[in-house]
Symmetry: C2
Subunit: 600 residues, 2 copies
């Protein structure tokens, strides 16, 4: 079995490439050093290998089920959540004042990479808790933090994000969950919540003592009606069990049976049914508002960059794991002879010697290692946006992070999934059977282009909010940075640097074409093609930048040659697609706008 | 539930586009007419809807299992096989002299499209029998035909192709199954077969009274050894039960548990174990040779074009079905508002009104309807290669068929699968659950890039055998035909015609680059990129040709506009990729050859 992650790659990315020492030198991180980061990654590898990896297939095979008591998962989920917290990872990214370890976000995600590589379905419980705790830590009152965040850092409780509803997935403006004021107590303004939430990951299970839901709901206006749009949305803490242990009115209405990622329960939840549970003698799920009324979406979106990077990380590691397994398989599976060898009596060679298998592995490597670099890069931007020395640097990081987040969410979801597809192909028929992990990785990863904002939604975010509405400022700064990187490229990467400059120029022209398009519908009609072209350009930047950093790295000559080859592969085989995606934009193609539904 | 296939599309493709009347006018098809073909398609739709479609999910959910008696499948498989044969489809493509109905191959495949759209896992049993019977009909003796082919045409028995072995998947030269001469009888030269066969679809099950395996095995030389290479390979009839009912020495050693396509058993078979069954008092599976000794591969390859078109058809219809379901869903699912509508109080619109959803549906339509046209086009070439009036036409059809078969196998396997991927995306989270058929279609279809020659193997076949070894003759004829089509394009498709001419010119340049590459390894190192570029060019030709034929078609104006839009989509969004795939070939990129296994 391949090691979960090539540690020399992780060390290279963190230290040689991202210059983690600069982050660790900041005042808030005085307790951390390269050594302590190394120890933390060692612990992550060990914990992931011991408590997550062995249950990779079991969590898929023994799917969660539901009975009168709620949802049941394999018992090892409880152990995984506990081991994760006991090793300090639940507390790692939070400041000491909140009971955390104050680890930089990029280090937290480097550690998370191990858990995602080992078993993304089990890791989700803890990841969702970290996201939940992040909102509580930033917006909760001290009492809310002590009551609802602290048990999550200890791994006793877990948390969810309850946003979507059956009729409102991508369109949160249309949620109809209702929050009725019900007094106030030491935990803040109290409400009764009524409504149905769909697609809630880890929304019910028996692997923690309580589940803290963060629920989006609308507070009715004076007329008793829910205002349309997003301005009436607030966010509420709604625990499965109230702090005194009473069962809250949150009922599991159903489990979704998914193609993959089965170890994470995915639920339909009824809040305030009033039939099964009547907490404190009345109907309605008891909840406490976090932050101000009407601030539900802004608060949720504050965590959105991190959540989307988290999805990108999960996708990345599924792809990366598939890549490593495919390499291992290709090294030991004999089949056929090299092209040109007509000696049928000669021995079959390991398939890694065939050109087309090497092409597939190069693609896997370029996709999955590139995605890992992208995710760590964006994770460091999260740190920079919070802790860089000067306000201008923090703002620049925030702006670049906003621009890159749709790529961090989408590119791994699409291309690490492509790596999983290739990993199956390398295995041949074996890869299509459930005896090999690559089969499940492909099913697991297919989730990622859907949740936390589909690829199409990310494209609208990128082109609409981050590029056009921003007047191209963030894009301009990115382009300038890429230009500097191209100027600093090693001599033997001069053609790749030229190709990257050309891609940036092409994107600029495309933006001009879009601005000239007139109607907003026309501007946005090819948004996904723009995202595809921009995403590959970002990865071109990542790979050129990695190639430049390899010169002085500590990794083996073979490993460095492999990464140079992956960088060259990306430019030779992938970057030409940028022009192909932009072609309809240059041509002002209006098909996606003009085609009628009745034509299908 | 969407109708299985838009009949007006099928009629258009067969009659307006492919001019089926020209085929039906040939002497061998005197009994058939446009009306009788229509009746046959009606019957196919009805049989598929009644006996196949209702068990689509059941065949997946209630996976085949194995016990002492062998493999068990859901009881409806027997009914499906019987209904298929009783409606005449098992006999349809064979000449009357062999007990068949003498239907043109293109009509046979148009009918098969219904069964594949309804339930490809159940259709596989009958499809494999048709392939098996095809070899028997062409190469078997009258006694072999009467004994082993006739019961398959009646739907009482089924058949398999037993080629692969655990150590020899893509590389048949390395098979080690052994056939020892054991006399001769009225069924021909008799042998005892010893060996293990892997990946045998429908290799064991309880849905027919007998299973006729066509087994590749080597006859030892005078020294008792199996010669390396393919020249010692012969092909044998090895039934599960001998004609007198005695159980043959063919033992189910295991079932493969697949990601999808679960309703078709996929088996590991031991021939000649000698432990469980000793037919006629001895060890070894009793079999009879078909054709001459040493002709195993040529006989098998004679059917390869049809088998590969069959895989392409299965892939196509899974994609097509997903496309139709996605359209239905997009028409009824409300979500969000059109770009530019800021009125949050306005009603959500059906998602088919969103540009990005229309983009996805256009891609689905271009992929799946294009693939269907390609498959029918190649199926008609099979007819032309057999029944066109003059020898030169037959040879030209054979040559073009050889060139296009790798595309017919591969392009639907890759792009109809992409259509399934998109169909999930259109459904959002729902598409990732097993409550919706698109989830299973995606898993089912992932098989197709693997079996019957992987995409990489098809690429070697295309570039090596069909283009370079042929000295570009078949490609030249194809290019000339495409040029004629471009000249005949409707005025409003002039830009598309120009784009198609450019793609052909680019492919010609690429072939010149490859010829100049020197070593065979360098010529073949980017074969898959060549296949990708060629495949899209073929589909560009298909779509331009469809656009030209739409002018006088009987389909509705909306339906014709939809197909024009799909054609335009293909040229605007897909054809630019041709240059991207050819870029590394132009550049003489040698990465796939030079990269070392140790670099990964």
């Amino acid at each position: 079995m391949a090691e979960l992650i090539d540690r020399s790659l992780l060390d290279f990315l963190l230290h040689d490439w991202l210059k983690l020492e600069d982050v660790l030198a900041r005042p808030g991180f005085a307790e951390h050093s390269r050594d302590s980061v190394g120890a933390m990654l060692d612990t992550a590898e060990k914990t992931a290998t011991t408590h997550f990896l062995p249950y990779f297939k079991k969590a898929d095979r023994e799917e969660p089920y539901q009975d009168e008591a709620g949802a049941h998962v394999i018992p090892e989920v409880r152990g995984a959540i506990a081991a994760y917290a006991q090793a300090g990872f639940a507390a790692a990214p939070f400041p000491a004042a909140l009971g955390g370890l104050g680890v930089p976000f990029v280090v937290h995600n480097a550690a998370m990479a191990y858990f995602n590589a080992a078993n993304t379905a089990l890791a989700a419980y803890s990841m969702l808790s970290v996201g939940n705790a992040g909102i509580l830590g930033e917006y909760g009152t001290p009492a809310q933090i002590e009551t609802f965040m602290a048990p999550q850092l200890e791994g006793r409780w877990t948390g969810t994000m309850a946003l979507s509803e059956p009729q409102a997935g991508s369109s949160l403006a249309d949620i109809s969950s209702r929050a009725m004021r019900d007094g106030e107590d030491e935990l803040g303004p109290r409400y009764r919540i009524f409504g149905t939430k769909m697609w809630i990951s880890a929304g019910d299970h028996d692997a923690s003592d309580n589940i803290v839901h963060l629920v989006l709901a609308k507070i009715p206006g004076p007329d008793g009606k829910l205002a349309p749009g997003t301005k009436a949305i607030s966010i509420f803490i709604v625990p499965k069990f109230l702090p005194d242990g009473e069962r809250n009115d949150v009922v599991l209405a159903g489990l979704n049976h998914k193609m993959g990622n089965r170890g994470t329960t995915n639920t339909l939840l009824n809040f305030g049914e009033g039939t099964k549970f009547q907490p404190r003698g009345g109907a309605g799920a008891v909840g406490w508002r976090v932050g101000e009324a009407g601030q539900g979406l802004p608060i949720m979106f504050r965590m959105m960059n991190e959540a989307r990077i988290g999805v990108g990380l999960g996708a990345t590691m599924a792809g990366y794991r598939g890549f490593r397994l495919a390499v291992d398989y290709a090294r030991v599976r004999p089949q056929g002879r090299p092209v040109g060898n007509r000696d049928v009596a000669s021995k079959p060679v390991p398939i890694i010697e065939h050109a087309d298998v090497k092409r597939m592995l190069l693609a896997c490597k370029a996709y999955s290692e590139g995605a890992l670099a992208l995710i760590l890069y964006c994770s460091k931007l999260v740190d920079d946006s919070r802790t860089a020395p000067g306000a201008p640097e923090r703002e620049a990081a925030e702006s670049l992070l906003g621009l890159l987040t749709p790529v961090a969410k989408t590119w791994p979801s699409e291309y690490a999934l492509a790596a999983n597809d290739i990993a199956i192909q390398v295995h041949g028929g074996y890869g299509y059977t459930r005896d090999f992990d690559v089969e499940q990785l492909y099913r697991d990863n297919r989730l990622n282009p859907i949740h936390e904002g589909t690829t199409g939604i990310q494209a609208l975010d990128l082109l609409g909010r981050k590029v056009l509405r921003d007047q191209g400022r963030a894009f301009g700064e990115f382009a300038a940075m890429v230009g500097c990187q191209a100027d600093a490229a090693p001599d033997d990467f001069a053609p790749e640097a030229a190709s990257l400059r050309a891609a940036i120029a092409d994107l600029k022209s495309a933006i001009e074409c879009l601005r000239a398009a007139g109607s907003e519908a026309d501007m946005m009609g090819n948004a996904t093609n723009f995202l595809s072209a921009f995403g590959h350009t970002v990865l071109g930047y990542i790979w050129l930048s990695i190639a430049a950093a390899l010169t002085n790295s500590a990794m083996s000559a073979d490993a460095a040659d492999g990464r140079r080859a992956a960088a060259r592969y990306f430019f030779a085989f992938e970057m030409p697609k940028v022009a192909a995606w932009l072609a309809p934009i240059y041509a002002g193609n209006r098909l996606t706008v003009t085609v009628k539904g009745s034509w299908f």
